[in-house]
Amino acid sequence: MAILNMSKTLFKSLFHGPYTTLYPLKEKDKYERTRGKIEIDMPQCIYCGMCQRRCPTGAIQVDKASVSWGIDRLKCIQCGYCSEVCPKKCLSMDNHYTTPSYGESKDKFTNA
């Protein structure tokens, strides 16, 4: 009976409430593996430049002279290749996304 099937779906949809989340008020749960953004544990970094060489988009800039590590957040494709090749394992993938931005979004970290 097609009409019965239809009313079943109809009532289910009527009483279930929305399947979506009200985004800015309630954020969707992130999974542990969600690839959000790359984070660095700066004191561990030895400025070997492996991440810079392996990055498919060239988003990472490592400078040994000024002891700094920088990333262009908008160039990064969150593939996680840098965190895999890092010999000191100081790069990690955070499961929260970067905040939206106007124009450029570059982060630079320096070891004092």
Binding site: N5, Y19, Y31, R33, T34, R35, R54, Q78, G80, Y81
Partner: protein
């Protein structure tokens, strides 16, 4: 003979998620000829293989398409592994199969929604896409991404799925199967769906063969072409038969895709029950030297990956023959003689992926 009119269709059209242009030559309301024009979203990804080394290119290959991204990465990795004669661990083969079948499910569910939207069945569209969310959630939990996964790597896969998560996927499959049965009953039984798709755009078996149609387009015309039967990844251990239909019309293409979703659920269950423990990646040393053709069955049909390496870390050439490209001649043939109002449905039934086609 009545007067002929040329109506431009696309590149921007409500039914098209991606830009393709067709010049439709009409006699009254009947299409007599369709002249395609592509090239709106060419990104030069094949050329990029000269700039990115063969390991970095895995991530580029995945980004050829937003829907079958996993299978693009897998096709590329399989070619390089064959050139370098790398045997990947069994567990990696099974994991690849599970992700590939989940990709097929999410691609077909997306397509069912788009088809429903094309003939104005908005609620069916919403229901299909809601169901697709469950598959995307599995992806996010296991790979970290919802559309681009970055898990396939040369020599295996980069992330393992724990046995608890596999059990959870198995439970999700039960829920998805139940909801899918309810959803697809509408596609199978509803008169409005049948009215818009039955007998529309019939492609005969001979014509499908001659024009080189692939995937559900060929299967709906009675050609049992399914690259999975060649036994790449873990398909050699799983039991399945290619799904075919003989009518060759839009309705047959819809039913083939629906049955393929159920088949994918079955394949995932089989893979989960058979998956062995062990390593997920073989260490790859050196650079590839040689050339290889790989054929992989994507949701839209067979994709061919050709890679030519020269012993350095940069490849000479990568060529991708995508399923949509192979299906365009068949599409143009089915468009001949159809009514103008059926053009959107017919374009959708090949499941066009233009960013794959132009790369």
């Amino acid at each position: 003979m009545s007067e002929r009119t040329v109506i431009p269709f696309g590149p921007q059209h409500p039914v098209l998620p991606e830009p393709i242009h067709l010049d439709l030559v009409l006699e009254d309301e009947t299409v007599v000829e369709a002249i395609p024009q592509i090239g709106y979203i060419h990104r030069g990804l094949e050329k990029l293989v000269e700039k990115k080394d063969f390991q970095q290119y895995t991530y580029v290959a995945e980004r050829i398409c937003g829907i079958c991204s996993f299978m693009h990465g897998m096709g590329y990795c399989m070619s390089i592994e064959s050139i370098m004669d790398v045997k990947i661990p069994d567990r990696a083969d099974y994991l690849r199969t599970i992700w590939a079948e989940l990709s097929r499910m999410h691609s077909h569910l997306l397509w069912l929604g788009l088809l429903a939207d094309a003939f104005g069945f908005e609620s069916l569209f919403m229901h299909s896409w809601r169901l697709r969310e469950r598959v995307l959630d599995i992806f996010e939990e296991t790979t970290g991404g919802r559309v681009i996964f970055s898990v396939c790597d040369i020599g295996g896969v980069r992330k393992d799925i724990s046995s608890e998560t596999l059990k959870k996927i198995n439970e999700s499959m039960d829920i998805i199967e139940k909801e899918l049965t309810e959803l697809t009953a509408v596609f199978f039984k509803d008169s409005s769906v049948k009215y818009r798709t039955k007998g529309v755009g019939v492609l005969s078996k001979q014509l499908a063969h001659d024009l080189g149609a692939v995937g559900p387009m060929a299967k709906a015309s009675g050609l049992p072409f399914d690259m999975r039967t060649q036994g790449y990844a873990a398909y050699k251990y799983l039991k399945f038969e290619p799904i075919i239909d003989t009518d060759g019309d839009s309705y047959a293409r819809t039913t083939v895709r629906i049955k393929e979703i159920f088949q994918s659920i079955d394949l995932i269950r089989q893979a989960i029950s058979l998956i062995p423990e062990g390593e997920i990646k073989t260490k790859v040393v050196g650079n590839p030297n040689g050339e290889y053709f790989t054929r992989v069955e994507q949701p839209r049909g067979e994709v061919i990956y050709y890679a030519k390496a020269n012993g350095t870390k940069f490849l000479d050439r990568v060529r991708v023959r995508t399923p949509t490209f192979a299906n365009v001649p068949a599409l143009l043939e089915t468009l001949k003689g159809c009514s103008l109002a059926d053009v959107p449905i017919l374009i959708l039934t090949i499941d066009p992926c233009i960013s794959c086609t132009e790369r």
